[in-house]
Amino acid sequence: MECCNHNHSGEHELVVKNLSVSYSAQVKAISNLNFSITCGHRLALLGANGAGKSSLIKALVGLIPVNKGLNQGEVLWRGEPLTKSTQEIAYLPQLDKHQTAVPFSVREVVAMGRYPYVGNTRNYSQHDKDEIDQALELMNLQNLAKRQIDELSGGQVQRAFIARAIAQKAHVLILDEPLNGLDVESRRQLIELMHTLSYRGHLVISSHHDLRTVHETFDKALVLNKEQVAFGDVAEVMKQEEVKQCLGIID
């Protein structure tokens, strides 16, 4: 199931221009970010705690309104403000953010991704059901579809959330610390999944803490320290002295 083929991936560009996010006059989360990236890549957001990764993620998914109040700048997707095409951007928050008291099955979680198309009251059409089935199959979750989401392992839950993003027909998947709390095998599987998604034409953006696995997981990196320290190919970015200083890398 292709997202964007290589002919179109250049048109599917995420552009961040002069983005600054402030929570108050005294607390500035990020200043003056400028970068652009197309589909088919895997971008790591790197930086210490408090560097602005979560604030950037929230601005990218629309949870923090850009260009409102103390916030400035633009986030454009396919040349238009991001707010015009929110269904093409999928947000996968940290694993512990969902409410386990809601007895959702895996299928019901994946079906959430169809909300932009069915709204609140419309029944799911056969097309919607097919999209949900395909997403479950792609993530190898078809046998777990009727299981309760809180019965699944961390890795399986992440796959369910990615299936939701696929059912949503999202081009961009933005993940907040997806490898946290996963065992070694689940981490390996998720990294492989991120590669598969980018090969299929999705843009995968993820905050990341483990510097040992940056090279194998991502092809692009954005290093933050409340401002943009570096952006570009992972290999080039990680060689820069100021990046090493920022991330505390000792040669």
Binding site: L63, T86, Q87, V102, F104, S105
Partner: protein, 273 residues
């Protein structure tokens, strides 16, 4: 049993118990999934001064009590968030301070405004004093609860499950939250009539807590919680008649018996496996 049903007082109370029990039971499914019963308990206690003030100013009508209750609830909810941000205290601590203060204020107002005869009714409920207008109100609230949760089921559940993701998918999260909040206040108002503000939390939590032990289906949780709420309230009323107990306490006692039965059944089923 024949005497019970012969009495017009008890007939009306039984209809009230069915209606109030159902609407409370139905929304208890939401309260249990939202994991907010203690916050709701604080809220139910804090409604007293708003209701008392409204009654004193304009007299007791369904709307005056509701507006008074919602005003205080909103004030308390917003104050707790604001104070938690401005002080080193967490929101639970702030809520505890505010709700006990509000409740004490309500009791003082009842005394000062010479409404002591209303006091026991507000504190412990008086299902036997329900008027036809009260029954129509309970019926309307019940219908509204079913309609709102059925029509907006998808959005409500998404907000419950993952509110940030729901927002990114286009769900109007704040509208849903405030709308459900207002509906919970309306249901709480009808609960006061049956069991009073002290025990109100029992009726708006226990049916959902009981059924949640037995089912993983959201639809079954809502439906069976409503049914259990209605059955429990009716049996509690019957028990209060036969055993000569206060109706409000009997209703809540029956609900906790149901909870214990469900718990034991769950253990037995697990043991057999």
């Amino acid at each position: 049993m024949v005497d019970f049903l012969d009495s017009q007082l008890y007939q009306r109370a039984l209809v009230g118990a069915l209606l109030i029990g159902f609407s409370n039971g139905f929304v208890s499914a939401y309260v249990v999934m939202n994991r907010s019963p203690l916050k709701l308990s604080a809220l139910s206690h804090s409604l007293l001064p708003g209701i008392v003030l409204a009654v004193w100013l304009v007299g007791l009508t369904a709307w005056s009590a509701f507006v008074g209750a919602v005003s205080v609830a909103l004030l308390m909810g917003l104050s707790s968030v604001w104070l938690a941000k401005k002080t080193p205290l967490d929101q639970d601590t702030v809520l505890a301070v505010l709700y006990t203060g509000c409740f004490a204020g309500g009791l003082a107002m009842l005394n000062r405004l010479q409404l002591q005869q209303e006091l026991e009714g507000w504190l412990f409920g008086n299902i036997l004093s329900l008027s036809n207008a009260d029954l129509w109100l309970s019926f309307s609230v019940g219908v509204l609860a079913v309609v709102v949760f059925s029509l907006f089921r998808r959005s409500i559940l998404m907000v419950l499950f993952e509110s940030e993701v729901a927002k990114t998918l286009g769900v109007p999260v704040n509208v849903i939250r405030y709308g459900v909040f207002a509906l919970l206040i309306m249901v709480l108002m009808t609960t006061f009539q049956a069991v009073g503000c002290i025990l109100a939390i029992g009726l708006i939590v226990m049916p959902g807590a009981t059924v949640r032990q037995l089912t993983h289906s959201v639809t079954a949780l809502f439906c069976w919680s409503g049914i259990l709420g209605a059955i429990g309230a009716s049996l509690g009323l019957l028990m209060s008649y036969w055993v000569d107990l206060p109706a409000g306490a009997s209703i809540v006692l029956v609900q906790i018996i149901f909870f214990i039965i469900a718990f034991i059944y769950k253990i037995l089923v697990r043991y057999k496996k």
